[in-house]
């Protein structure tokens, strides 16, 4: 029995070399000449005729150049899904890139053009990437492959091949396009959209009319949301909340694989059938988590990742668990959203395997109990808790999060929190712990779309598109393509940090959240170097913009400093680069300035320059105003040194904090 239609396969002919069809003098592209391919199949006796996926390959267009058209409701949906998954709108062919025949005017380049990476000089008119021979593809399709066999067959060949090779439209790889076509196809089916088979037999004109009317009639709900949590982690074990966050995200993705179109560690873009709303995600929310969303029901013709004005009501809101109007004390000290009905640590101890007498002693006395009263059998298990002096009222959710694993996943962080490395006169309470830096990469979704629009506008201008602003539109496929690179960037970033900091790096807390132990503040420059190198490799074009959608937050303190204070700083960076030294200042700058900062940081390693920086930092301790004057005083003998070491283009306070970072170094970086 033949497999059902596998939509991902539909564009496989785009990977085929030009072919000399019978009776034709020139070799032609199989994808643009599906009727010839069909004739070849018939004449050579390939066993493909009744296979739905093959039908999908040759009948998924309604453009007049294609001589075979969708003739079943499934193929009609495939045609539509193909269009929705395209890099640029196929709504009205005459308006594509502002020209009736953009392919002829701008030429083609099979290689994918990444807006965030490539420049005009990377374009190569006429470049082809079509690795397969038609015969091999037809033989493969005869086996009626499933989707996994299909991906195995094509290998890496779809990653760099643009879905639409027209220069100016080559923004999405064939891989992402195929994946999204599959998602849209299944989504349309789940929404129970369909047409009457009889309506597909009225010739091409009838098909086009039907297609246009359905694109204006059918709709889907586009929702973008953030998963938020109320917990403010106090202890290392409370950091389990991030595992719960990842689990929540993973369960939504697993349940709605075909509906998730973009995601980061806490944000998702989903497309839902019109009868489903974001509220239906409430069943995935535990532990007091809630969702903040923006949702819009859009007609297919205007389906867009960002809310479109004039395309239906934009609805904002939250999906949250029910909250009581009043809570009687005590309130949970971690989330402050529920009654603190559990006592830490007594309720945890009572869960242990203790004898009845010891349970009774723990239960009726304040913690810790008198050791002499406990039985010998139970003392070893309780020993590690006997120094505990803090009582906490916490709710059931936060209690469950805290006791999730017997041993914390973040073993190094737990160790650093207890480690004593000496006494710091500045702070007798927390100064004795080692310093840590928390690192978070944030991706601002709205700014990502704005940035890609700007870069696309530049690209179109470069190739000579008139009135390019009218042609600029960032669709789902381009975003998904970006996410693929973003994921690779995060993986590389983590790998590079681990190589640089080795054992001083904890396991990742999220794919974009890390914690590292440092000996001196100067090691922050090492992080900036890694970030800058990878940024240049993956997203160099974002440096052409006034601000980048990708933002780096670093927050540094002694290891005992409460994480939840870091978290507020980490998740809301004030600029592209935001470094906070708790209680010491912050550096706020843009990613454009990073090259200059790092070059000058290199100069700062010179010992006489370090002396000058030290002097400036000492002056600032007495008076920041005086330090500001010293920095700008041309008669100051260190004036030229400061010019050499300290980059311009940032506020004085940022310069001062950078001074503290550069001054506190040894030969680590």
């Amino acid at each position: 029995m033949a497999h059902d239609l596998i939509p991902e396969v539909h564009d496989i002919l785009k990977l085929c070399q030009a072919f000399a069809f019978e009776g034709q003098t020139r070799r032609r592209s199989p994808h643009s000449n599906v009727l010839s391919v069909h004739n070849e199949v018939v004449s050579k006796g390939y066993k493909l005729q009744s296979k739905p996926s093959w039908e999908g390959v040759v009948k998924h267009h309604h453009g007049k150049n294609f001589k075979l058209f969708p003739d079943t409701p499934d193929l009609f949906l495939l045609d539509m899904a193909d269009s929705l998954a395209a890099a640029i709108s196929r709504g009205d062919n005459r308006l594509r890139l502002g020209h009736p025949q953009p392919f002829k005017k701008y030429g083609f380049d099979d290689k994918l053009f990444r807006l965030w990476k490539n420049q005009g000089k990377d374009r190569q008119r006429g470049r082809q990437y079509r690795p397969f021979q038609l015969e091999k593809v037809l033989e493969f399709l005869e086996k009626d492959p499933d989707v996994n066999e299909f991906y195995k067959f094509i290998g890496d060949s779809m990653f760099e091949r643009a879905e639409d090779a027209t220069i100016g439209a080559n923004l999405t790889s064939l891989f992402i396009h195929s994946e999204l076509t599959g998602k849209f196809y299944r989504l349309l089916k789940q929404a129970e959209y369909g047409v009457n088979p009889a309506d597909l037999s009225k010739g091409r004109k009838g098909l086009v009319t039907l297609y246009k009317s359905k694109m204006d009639d059918w709709s889907l709900a586009v929702t973008r949301f953030k998963i938020r949590f109320p917990q403010k982690p106090i202890r290392t074990k409370d950091m389990n909340v991030f595992s719960k966050l990842s689990e929540t995200r993973a369960s939504i993705e697993a349940q709605f694989k075909d509906r998730v179109f973009f995601n980061t560690s806490d944000e998702m873009l989903m497309i839902l059938p019109p009868d489903m709303s974001t509220q239906t995600l409430s069943r995935f929310l535990n532990y007091g988590f809630w969702i903040e969303y923006v949702e819009q029901k859009q007609i297919l013709n205007k389906l867009n990742p960002k809310p479109v004005i004039g395309n239906g009501d934009v609805k904002e809101g939250i999906v949250a668990p029910p909250h009581p109007v009043i809570i009687n004390p005590p309130i949970c000290e971690i989330c402050q959203m529920e009654k603190g009905e559990k006592k830490w640590i007594k309720d945890y101890i009572l869960m242990m395997d203790l004898c009845d007498r010891c349970k009774e002693i723990v239960s009726v006395n304040a913690w810790p109990p008198d050791v002499k009263e406990l039985c010998e059998k139970d003392i070893p298990g309780l020993a590690i808790w006997l120094d505990e002096r803090i009582d906490e009222d916490i709710c059931k959710h936060c209690f469950d999060i805290r006791i999730e694993n017997k041993d914390t996943r973040l073993k190094k962080l737990a160790r650093w929190s207890e480690e004593k490395i000496g006494i710091d006169d500045e702070d007798i309470l927390t100064g004795i712990n080692p310093r840590v830096i928390w690192i978070k990469i944030n991706l601002d979704f709205a700014e990502l779309i704005r940035s890609l629009e700007l870069l696309y506008g530049k690209y179109l201008k470069e190739i000579g598109v008139q009135n390019e602003s009218g042609a600029v539109e960032i669709r789902f496929s381009v975003l998904t393509e970006y996410r693929r690179d973003y994921d690779k960037f995060l993986t590389e970033f983590e790998k590079a940090l681990r190589k640089h900091f080795c054992d001083d790096m904890e396991v990742p807390i999220l794919e974009d959240l890390f914690v590292i132990k440092i000996a001196v503040l100067g090691q922050i420059i090492g992080v900036l170097n890694i970030y800058n190198d990878l940024f240049a490799a993956y997203f160099p074009r974002f440096k052409d913009l006034n601000s980048s959608p990708l933002k780096l937050s670093i927050s540094c303190s002694r290891s005992k400093f409460p994480f939840f204070e870091h978290w507020e700083l980490l998740r809301k960076p004030a600029s592209d680069i935001h470094i906070t030294l708790i209680n010491k200042g912050e550096v706020i700058t843009n990613v454009k300035s990073l090259d200059e900062i790092l070059i000058r940081a290199g100069h700062a390693k010179d010992k006489s320059n370090i002396r000058a920086l030290h002097k400036l930092a000492e002056i600032a301790k007495l008076s920041e105003t005086l330090a500001s004057i010293a920095l700008q005083d041309k008669s100051n003998k260190d004036y030229n040194r400061y010019r050499e070491i300290l980059p311009m283009g940032m506020g004085f306070n940022s310069l001062l904090t950078l001074t503290k970072i550069l001054e506190d170094q040894n030969e680590v970086y």
Binding site: I326, I327, I334
Partner: protein
């Protein structure tokens, strides 16, 4: 409702949240309803007063100290407290609750660590507004206000359709709650007891007069 607008200045303020884990006490960076109303009630003995505020400028500093258990004559675990210095902000107080002779300028004690000299604020009259009649804008709430829903239905209306409770509308002129950020504020019932009431926290997306919005909703 009509409010008098005051410019607030203070040298040192400790607007502490509840102690987390017993060791660290952060300061919030706004003037919540419960804090300012509590301070006004204590200072002037007024009831039915409504007030909110927000901070414009401040520096963050930390203090580490140890509480002493007088009964046992020993020190408890050390506490690290976040506080704000060189503070300036704005406070709105419902009309008719400040004694006439002090209406233009008065001093108020607010927040924690009062015995250590923190919390002395000076409030100087800077105008009058009617929050209901001001022009509405969409933006992010800059303070914390209790919702005071009269029943479950009113709360559900807020959560599902963004319809503010009567309290939020009638007192503060809030027209719509587009995306709430929820939390609880302490509401004293007697001198040493109270309950936590569901409230809108800073960052909630609302439609209201610009006085309640971060950067005036711009």
């Amino acid at each position: 409702m009509r409010f008098i607008k005051y410019q607030l200045s203070a040298e040192k303020l400790c607007l502490g949240e509840r102690v987390k884990g017993g060791r660290y006490k952060p300061s919030i960076k706004t003037i919540r309803y419960s804090q300012i109303v509590g301070a006004l009630k204590h200072q002037f003995g007024v009831s039915d007063v409504h007030a909110v505020g927000s901070l414009e400028q401040f520096k963050v500093e930390f203090l580490s100290y140890t509480l002493k258990d007088r009964a046992l004559d020993n020190s408890k675990l050390p506490l690290r407290v976040e506080f704000l210095t060189d503070v300036s902000g704005v406070v709105y107080i419902s009309e008719g609750h400040i004694p006439k002779e002090k209406e233009n300028r008065f001093d108020l004690v607010m927040g924690g660590m009062v015995s250590k000299g923190y919390g002395n604020c000076r409030l100087t009259k800077a105008g009058e507004i009617d929050m209901e009649k001001e022009n509405d804008k969409e933006g992010l709430l800059n303070t914390r206000i209790p919702i005071k829903a009269e029943d479950e239905r009113e709360l559900m209306e807020l959560m599902e359709n963004g319809v503010p409770s009567k309290f939020l509308t009638n007192i503060f002129g809030i027209k719509k709650v587009l995306r709430p950020v929820l939390g609880y504020l302490f509401d004293p019932v007697y001198e040493h007891t109270g309950v936590y009431v569901l409230s809108l926290f800073e960052g909630s997306k609302i439609v209201s007069c610009e006085s309640l919005l971060i950067n005036g909703g711009r």
